[in-house]
């Protein structure tokens, strides 16, 4: 497997992991809204909290994490851009 193919395989896996997390916070937890709402977090009913703030925050954290991880994959395979942002 060439370096490019190996890089793309890793990138693809990383994409899938990110999308699984994404689906969990955007879809899966809201399938159980009624159940979650019986629990509480910071005094808020949990499902209410997740849709008002929790999932949104999870997406923000996820995006910084995913960008950093992808940068590491770039570096490992020598595809890291030199110029700085």
């Amino acid at each position: 497997m060439s370096n490019k193919d190996a890089y793309w395989a890793k990138t693809k896996n990383h994409m899938i992991v990110t999308l699984v997390l994404w689906a969990f916070f955007s879809l899966v937890i809201f399938m159980f809204g009624t159940e979650l709402n019986t629990m509480s977090f910071l005094g808020y009913p949990l499902a209410y909290y997740m849709t008002a703030q929790g999932s949104l925050l999870a997406f923000v954290v996820m995006l910084f994490w995913t960008a950093n991880k992808q940068e590491k994959i770039d570096e490992e395979h020598g595809f890291s851009e030199r110029e700085e942002d």
Binding site: W22, F30, S40, Y48, L63, T66, Q70
Partner: protein, 619 residues
Amino acid sequence: MDFKGGFIKNLPKIYGLYTGGFAVFILIMAIAEQAGVSAKNIGVMFVAFTVLIYALIGYLSRTIQVDAYYVAGRQVPTVFNGMATAADWMSGASFVALAGGVYFGGYTYMAFLVGWTGGYVLVATLMAPYLRKFGCYTVPDFIGTRYGGNLVRACAVFVLFIASFTYVTAQINATGTIASRALGIPFEAGVWVGLISILICSMLGGMRAVTWTQVAQYIVLIIAYLIPVFWISNKVGGGVFPHLMLGDEVARLGELEQQFGLVKNSAADMKAAGVPGGLKYISGTHSGVPEGGMAVWKYLSLAICMMVGTASLPHILMRYFTTPSVRAARKSVAWSLFFIFLLYSSAPMLATLSKLALMDPNLPTGIIGKSISDVQSIEWVQRWSEVKQVFIADFNGDGILQLNEWFMRGDVVVLATPEVAGLPFVISGLVFAGGMAAAMSTADGLVLAISNALSHDIYYKIIDPKADTAKRLLVARVLLVIIGAAGAYIASFRLTSILGSVAWAFDFAMSGLFFPLVLGVWWKRATRQGAIAGIMAGIISGTVYLTWVFPKFSVPIWGGVNTPFLGIDHLRFGLIGAPICLVVMVVVSLMTKEPDAATQKMVDDTRIPTGKAILGKQH
């Protein structure tokens, strides 16, 4: 001011000074209010001052270079591009109507919040870095080059036009509404004032001017949103940091809902009482989750449409063409969402505080459960009643205001809560400036997305590939004015109601663009014929379904009102268009010859961050 390298390095300083200057302006207005300047004049000064600043930035960013005009010279730093995207994204509707939506819709409505943020995960993982590497100027530019040929390019422009134009009329409408209220001029005049402000910001400098005004607009809109939220929270005892401390208030709302009872009014009662159109009352719970599989599906399907739509909207995707590198594009998506999060996570808090302020009889601001004659003598109630934004109907005739007897327009939550909570008017002036910034920044981005696609993809790539730079930029600017004027013309006749909801833009975009964009990067086997068939099948089936399910269209076209298939109503028609687009695209691609070696290599190169862009710096 020198706008080359020196400008980019000095950005934090420049926008720091700008923010400081804006803070000083707010203070001066506060002093002016104490000195007896009328509320109306303060509103006028807020809007006029901020719009003048944007116009100045637009003028200073003028350019005669193609890559500056289309992609801001690809030198916008990560964090600033994040702010610009956040302003581009958060429309007048987000700013003015989001909290109102949560106020009336509670948990169910908040599927929009998840949808409008979660979509950025798709943007970051599937789209932005690859489109940035590709080096395109517009979204159809990617589709046209990846699949090859003018027809597929034109198809992409077609979808872009439908989606963005649906959106832009609503934005110009919002600009007009805010301008007319703040400046005290008729709505029709407000629309044209709004349009001129939008064009000054974008015409001379294209993407470069829009970028730097959007950053300035983000700063104004976020200050204008957060100050009232924190201030009101402290004033009504919600705590210093409302986002973490409103648990008790949410629980209290549940108790109050029990106490007052959630009553549904009959349509006949409301008609008899003469409730003005567009005004709503609270009939659902704030934090409760509705029971049943259909309710869950309604929530999920709306979130899916908004997420996939977000990842397909050209005016958002094109913001990531302006970063200096692929890795900057990825980080920039994260910063965008962070800046969006600041406002979106505050909207439910504002809705909670606003609801509590009106409903809690223990608070001096409470009106529910009080005598109607007392409520009618409150100053803000009188002022907003005059303009038909709030309304009282004593259905049971007991002279006491019940929860189901208090009607108001969703916008009032953002526009009037500062007044209700007794904040000085300077805050209301600030809110007007924020609403104007939000509506203008989105309208700018949309008008530019449409006119760039027409000037680059249709005019330059298809009609006259030999046109020189001066001619290309002239055409781009003329089209910008035409598109803006067309949007304003439709908005000024208040025809926007026939264009329906802003959500439609998301459904149109996901029906025709999502899979052609994703598969263009992630599936080498996708062919030109597949893309053409997929785009057209998606957009046509989605649109036909929309006409079938939306009563205003279905009655004249299909001769009756139809029950939505599987609960897929007019807000969710992308769920019909996008899967059809996918299936058709895959089937047709597999039936046609696989793309040639050059195209396959192009896709390979798109996938890695380093190396030359597919399209040159000037193309």
